[in-house]
Amino acid sequence: MTSAALACAWVLHAAPSSDEPQGDDVPADGGPAATRRTVVVTGTRSARALDETPVATSVISRDDIVDVGAQNLAEVLEEAPGLQLVRGVGGTGLRLQGLDPAYTLVLVDGQRVTGRVNGVVDLSRIPAEDLEQIEIVRGPGSVLWGADALAGTINLRTRSSDRPHAAEATLAYGSFATIDLTGRAAVARRRWASAVTAGLHRTDGWDADPGDLTTTGPRIRQWNVATTHELRRMGPFSMRARAEYLRRDAQRIDASDTGAVLDRRNLTETLDVTLTPTFARGPSELTLSAHASLFRDQLVQDQRGATQLDNYENTVDALGQFGAVYAHTLGSHTVTAGVDGQLERLIADRVDPGRVDRARYAMFVQDEWVPTTAPRIAIVPGARVDVDSFFGAYPTPRLAMAVAPKPWITLRASFGRGFRAPGFRELFLRFANPSAGYVVRGNPDLKPETSWGTQLSAEITPLRQLAIGVNAFDNRLRDAIVVDTEAGTEADGTSLFRYTNVGEATTRGVESTAVLALRETLRLEGSYTYLWTFDGENRRALPGRARHAGTAGLRLARARWGTMLRVRASIFGERRFYLDEDGDGVEDPRDSPAYATLDLRASQDLLADHVQIFAGVDNVLDAGDATDNPLVPRSYYGGITLRY
């Protein structure tokens, strides 16, 4: 593996992958693999080599996604260092640096993903088969990407094709009658490339407590299809177009706190169309983008034995985005400037009015100044202003710096502001619960939630085979939106609950990773995260966060035999929750015990890489429980991949 990729060890997953050609990310012109450098875009909004980007970026490569056998994004991130997945009503979300999923921006090819439920983009919905690279930038990223990038930004970059012909198909079968069938066909010529990807996923779901009627993991039927088309280097012009449709049908049985048994079904559809023309000439590059995205979710809730709690909710979230980013290099300065526009429409049964439109426009500018390259120093000030049709103008500055005093060490720092725009429901919800006599009302006067975030990181490569990364962070979330339960009464006397900007949270900690790669045969990786959190409103630690967490990984490969063994483990320390257990109206702290997860996977290539058979066990230790930690129980799978 190149030392260039190792240099960013912070990035455990980016680090060494084998040099053997895999997938179709090898240049068609047969360029030597050694010149391949990981290129990232999320930290600066333009392409940078991973080891030179002034903004610390974690990368998970296609090889890593394939290695761990992940079928969806949640499975990819499950045992990645410094991340915690949280599973709840909105699906599986990512908790970054101790902040809730609502504070992490999720992008696909730089376009924001719609369809947050309870603030969560469900990562288990996003299929892995078309992902080329996952980039994670920690800390506020609003300076380039706008709203929601407080704890961090996760940018999913989809696959491109370089080989003249490529096709692959994977079929896996596992516990709970889980079937994953994915396929991809791609062609590439000198000036263009096209690919089609499709996937089918089904599972019976699972139940942590067979003694009751309810289920824990939903029964899922999902299919998706995506197509990508590219024009390349037509003079200064290139263009990429992508369209994707996904449909997911999830069914489960829940019990309400009053003892009602509810059959719930969510039928979720997403449709995304993205067009990205690029003009590059000499030191300047202009990238335009147009993106339309549609999220529709139908919820049917059917109460057994009665109709009082029966419910149908139709939610449509439509988003149109357009942007232009111009980057120009002049001497030691690379100036990036751009505009973004976003038009969003929500149609939902629980908002009042039932249809709400919002528009947001933004402009940003950033200067990447590299006064010297020996040693390499980069100073990157930037600022952005968003103007929203509800809360008005909101500025977000950031200053990032990177210094590489020696070739084997890179220090980075960034200090910036992030904001989260109030969601449609927080602004316009109207929800009445007559059984308990209260009404929850949105508040159109909400301000954005804001944070200041500081990140200080060091990446050290003391040996060619060893890479160490350390990142210290401090995030201060202010004006967080919470429900005020004493907001007065409605005209008819029922209690009024209302959203207000009075919450506060602080998270601080240290994330550290180490990767040891011995040739192509052995890779060992480990990480440790220390996290301190404080909920300023309730004067206590944030619930469900583990103060200590760690991951470990082992990859053993023998290229000559085509054999690979992959072990991934994670451990989370005690987590504190708060529940009113004695009914006195005061929440009592309760510590949920530490737990560990362990996944094993082995694969064998046959017929010169054209066939791979694999088998694995997930959650070997059978960790998890129904209340605090609904992890999929121990499960077994096996399957086959065909590649051409």
Binding site: L271, R345, S495, D580
Partner: protein, 211 residues
């Protein structure tokens, strides 16, 4: 502005073209077993009135009231054990207790002319009340300084409210009511939810209280 409108229209059109079937009609036929209609009362003998049902339990009576309506009071006369229809509750002493969702009104004070008064025995169950309490004897009062605009019902303290789950749980508290006719009854609320988990199904256990 017209560009914006046309983009919105475009995405809305896309939305309406959504491929999946509409599930709006799926309710009511997908559940296991027939859905009981909220007026179809199967909690007991069917004796007591359209929204009221009684079960004899030793020397006590368990009465279930369908108080699921947001705007309808269900009036109960304890002496006759029956639901009564009241045109003007402020001019009638035919009723003793009235139920609407989780509210319980009594025919006294601001709620009615019957002069019904209530003594509250806190922290005990019905079986622990063996004699007529000494008082104080209270009745429904005008709205005081609280978070709602309702009258201060003398029996409003029957439940604990969980802010997290929004579930109402009955407290161990017994109300001894002296009715317009001069009889005394001891009353305890047992539940607010029926077997299917629906709210507004008040279950009270009560008996005449000898003094």
């Amino acid at each position: 502005m017209s560009t914006r409108a046309s983009i919105f229209s475009f995405v809305t059109t896309l939305a309406l073209l959504g491929c999946a079937e509409d599930l709006r009609g799926a309710l009511g036929d997908g559940s296991e077993g027939a859905d009981a209609d909220s007026t179809d009362d199967d909690t007991g003998s069917g004796d007591g009135g359209p929204q009221v049902d009684h079960e004899q339990d030793g020397d006590t009576v368990i009465t279930t009231v369908d108080a699921t309506g947001d705007a309808v009071w269900i009036y109960l006369d304890l002496e006759t054990r029956s639901q009564v229809t009241v045109a003007d509750p402020l001019a009638s002493d035919a009723w003793d207790l009235a139920f609407k969702r989780y509210d319980i009104a009594t025919n006294g004070g601001v709620s009615g002319p019957g002069g019904l008064t209530v003594a509250i025995v806190d922290g005990v169950g019905l079986d622990a009340v063996t004699a007529l309490p000494s008082g104080p004897w209270l009745s429904d009062a005008v709205d005081g300084d609280d978070t709602n605009d309702d009258p201060d019902y003398v029996m409003s303290g029957w439940y604990d409210y969980d802010f997290m789950t929004h579930v109402l749980t009955p407290k161990p508290v017994v109300y001894v009511a002296r009715t317009p006719e001069g009889n005394a009854y001891a009353i305890q609320v047992l539940d607010y939810y029926d077997d299917a988990g629906s709210s507004g199904w008040m279950r009270v256990r009560w008996r005449p209280q000898a003094g």
